[in-house]
Amino acid sequence: MWLTIALISVFSIAAVGYVILPLFGRTRTVVSAEGEELADLITRKEVALEAIRELEFDHGVGKIEDADFERFNRILRLRAIRLIERIEAEFGGPDGLGPDTVQLDERLELEISRRRRVEERLPNEGCRSFPQE
């Protein structure tokens, strides 16, 4: 009985200490509203880029007619460009997507082609690492 109490006491001290430790010490994680907003914008941009890919795929297998493809493609690309523009306006320069002088629509094409190349880097096609732009 005493051994049980002693053992659980040691466990309790260790577990409680472990749980309340972060209340007293320094921690690594920092939450920033700025980071959250950037993450939100990047997610929306990624969704838009995926939607463009979906549309191209559906058009390629004949599910979307040419006229509809043109219309929706234009809307989606415009949305993606606006998001890239917003990310750059609110959070700084192009950062890895090419020189500042590159136009936004060219930057979008860069992003799309980069995604394509990475997605095509398949196991049966060799495993070359994709160079950072």
């Binding site: 409680v16 972060p22 929306r44 979906e54 390629g60 398949l122």
Partner: protein
């Protein structure tokens, strides 16, 4: 001593869990308030700072992470101790005395942890703590705003189960003496499918707490953008896969062990596992629409709440005994606890949902009904409709008893009659949806997409009419052929398009197609598995033949082209039971060629002689199963009574189940990720956000 220690670890886990839950919600609340106050980085706000400069919200959140890890460790210790007790026959523990015996094979001793009430609750708590830990480790950095609330919600669920374990269903309760042997595991549970089937169901049910926690976190933090749905996509698919596998394995168990000729009886507890599957499947489809189009936000959070609620309701149904069921081996007084938990989560969630309605406005509208989102929306209504029908039928006996004082049961034919047509419509949509593109599919594209699948279905109808004059199976099979044809067409057209654009050989093009578009083509594999399950159900429902006979040794009976000759009755003593098995020779009735010998048997357990179990004799082929139940025998076996079924196409149900699992693996398999710019790489993007076309 060790069992007292195990109980105290559960008490300690409960205390830390309560603290961690409060820390998570409080930390999240502080973080949200700080973010709202001028959108400043929270650590810069003087009001919430400690002397060394780190905010309270961060500290509390970190503490909630530590709580999750500590609770997981403590519950793990308790579970290991219970396993130790089971494997070493510690019958002074009431649970072990009730659920095990010395002669029980080790395999079943290990599985006995989920063979009874308290043990299964401990196992559930262990799985939930493991899922919580995995969630915390995965999203600790990438979902900084949501994680405090996610931790809080997961810990709240854990707290509920720990309260049950500590106050109502203590698995370490001692009986004050050491009995020489245990009472034995319920005979119905001594079947290999019963060893794995509950684990799969638990993994499914417990895993669905994670998307629910994210939904609550998104509502509480007001971060209702597309990030949380992208995050939970994969974390819903994985438990969904386990739940699907659990349901299929449960059907296998019912088919092999219960001995009534079928695999699904619309039993209340079967329905309890099926209901969350229906709503989770609806969610998996509608979440794609939210991700793609930014609509159905209210519907999605409602669906995931419904799924979680149905999981708890299902567990309540099993435990409370309010509905009689073949699964009534785990009843106890924990029912009221579940009812209170259910009421608290329902009221709490609905209040929160109404408060957050202004944040849940759709960003777009559906452009056209002839679009994939249109088909998905219709599919969601059908799933909801089926769920309602199943829920109503399941609880009708209870409602009728409350209202009229008379318990009126709803049997399988009612479910088949009401849910059957809805399932047929769902199958039609399963074929239609993938043929449509997002936003709008024009008339010309519709013609191009539908011509071959519709032609395949129409051509099949005259052939199908040869097999039956009943229109229902003919229509059912034709719809299955239509859906299968759409899937084949999708693979063929995708491969051709890839070959054309890249000049690859067929095999490489097909592999590349699946690898690059895993989510879309994994979804098609799942659909194909569901089609096979549908084929098996139609075969069994409309083409089954049966007879009930008493045969003397050497006598034979004919059924559906088979001749079954009763050869002898044999008896065999096993470690904890006696097997009485009949030897039946199955031959082709026309040619007399012997096809197989099958052995239907009854197991009479030493500890439960009045509860014999049935193990069916089975000859399984792709075309049909010969399925025999040994009902009884005279004296030493000079004659025996059998129920014989010929069940067409049943094997495809198990193949279909395998394909569902395989397809889900393809869906969740990580796809190549595009490299991010250095700035993007440091932003908190969901770790589970994979790239790949969204599809069913």
């Amino acid at each position: 001593m060790i069992f007292d220690f195990a109980y105290l670890t559960l008490v300690l886990a409960l205390i830390l869990c309560a603290f961690g839950m409060a820390a998570g919600f409080w930390g999240g609340r502080l973080g949200t308030v700080e973010a709202e106050q001028g959108a400043l980085p929270s650590e810069r706000l003087p009001s919430s700072k400690l002397p060394n400069g780190v905010s309270w919200s961060t500290r509390l959140t970190e503490s909630s992470f530590h709580s999750i890890y500590a609770v997981c460790g403590l519950v793990g210790i308790a579970a290991v101790i219970l396993w130790y007790g089971l494997l070493t026959d510690q019958f002074q523990i009431a649970y072990i005395w009730n659920s095990s015996e010395r002669s029980l094979p080790t395999f079943y001793k290990f599985a006995a942890i989920w063979g009874g009430q308290a043990g299964s609750l401990l196992f559930w708590t262990l799985l939930l703590s493991l899922f919580s830990t995995a969630t915390a480790l995965t999203f600790r950095s990438s979902q900084r705003t949501l994680m405090p609330y996610v931790n809080g919600t997961l810990l709240a669920s854990l707290l509920f189960f720990l309260i049950l374990l500590v106050f109502s269903a203590n698995p370490f309760e001692q009986i004050g003496l050491v009995p020489s042997d245990g009472r034995g595991l319920n005979p119905l549970l001594q079947n290999y499918w019963m060893v794995i089937h509950p684990v799969m169901l638990y993994l499914g049910w417990v895993g669905l707490s994670v998307p629910f926690a994210f939904a609550v976190a998104a509502l509480l933090s007001k971060r209702l953008d597309r990030r949380w749905v992208r995050t939970v996509r994969r974390w819903t698919l994985i438990p969904w896969m386990f739940l699907s596998a659990g349901i299929i394995m449960g059907s296998q168990w019912a088919y092999m062990e219960l001995g009534w000729g079928g695999y699904w009886a619309w039993d209340p507890v079967e329905n309890a596992s099926f209901l969350p599957w229906l709503t989770a499947t609806a969610f998996l489809h509608s979440v794609i629409i939210q991700e793609q189009r930014g609509i159905l936000k209210v519907w999605n959070v409602t669906l995931i709440w419904l799924t979680f609620t149905l999981v708890i309701l299902g567990t309540f149904t099993t435990r409370s005994g309010i509905l009689s069921s073949v699964h009534s081996f785990a009843q106890s007084p924990v029912g009221p606890y579940f009812l209170v938990f259910l009421a608290v989560t329902t009221v709490g969630f609905l209040l929160l949902l109404f408060q957050r309605l202004p944040y849940l406005q759709g960003e777009n509208e559906i452009d056209s009904i002839s679009s994939r989102e249109g088909a998905f929306l219709a599919n969601n209504w059908l799933f909801a409709g089926i769920a309602f029908v199943v829920l109503w039928g399941t609880f009708y006996p209870m409602f009728s008893e409350i209202l009229t004082g008379e318990r009126i049961s709803v049997a399988a034919p009612w479910f088949n009659r009401v849910a059957g047509p809805l399932f047929l419509l769902l199958f039609v949509l399963m074929g239609v949806g993938p043929l449509l593109g997002w936003r709008r599919t024009g008339a010309k594209a519709l013609r191009r997409q539908f011509t071959w699948p519709v032609a395949a279905a129409l051509i099949s109808i005259p052939f199908l009419l040869f097999t039956s004059r009943n229109i229902f199976p003919v229509v059912g099979f034709a719809v299955c052929i239509f859906v299968a044809a759409t899937i084949v067409q999708e693979f063929v057209r995708g491969t051709i398009a890839r070959r054309r654009s890249r000049g690859e050989p067929v095999a490489s093009a097909l592999w590349g197609l699946i690898r690059r578009n895993g989510r879309r083509y994994g979804g098609y594999v799942i659909h194909f598995g569901i089609v096979l399950i549908g084929v098996a159900i139609i075969g069994n429902e409309f083409y089954q033949s049966t007879t009930h006979v008493t045969l003397a040794e050497g006598d034979a009976v004919e059924l559906s082209g088979y001749s079954l000759k009763y050869v002898a009755l044999e008896s065999k003593q096993q470690s904890n039971h006696t097997e009485i098995r009949a030897n039946l020779q199955v031959s082709d009735a026309e040619t007399g060629r012997v096809l197989a010998n099958i052995f239907p048997r009854r197991n009479i357990y030493d500890k439960s002689p009045d509860q014999p179990t049935s193990e069916v004799g089975l000859r399984m082929t792709p075309a049909e199963d010969v399925y025999v139940i040994l009902n009884g025998w005279e004296g030493d076996g000079t004659s025996a009574t059998f129920t014989i079924y010929v069940n067409p196409l049943t094997m495809w149900m198990w193949v279909g189940g395998l394909l569902v699992v395989l397809g889900t693996v393809v869906c969740v398999w990580p796809h190549p990720q595009p490299a991010r710019s250095s700035r993007e790489a440091t932003s908190p993007i969901p770790g589970g956000a994979a790239t790949g076309p969204a599809s069913a």
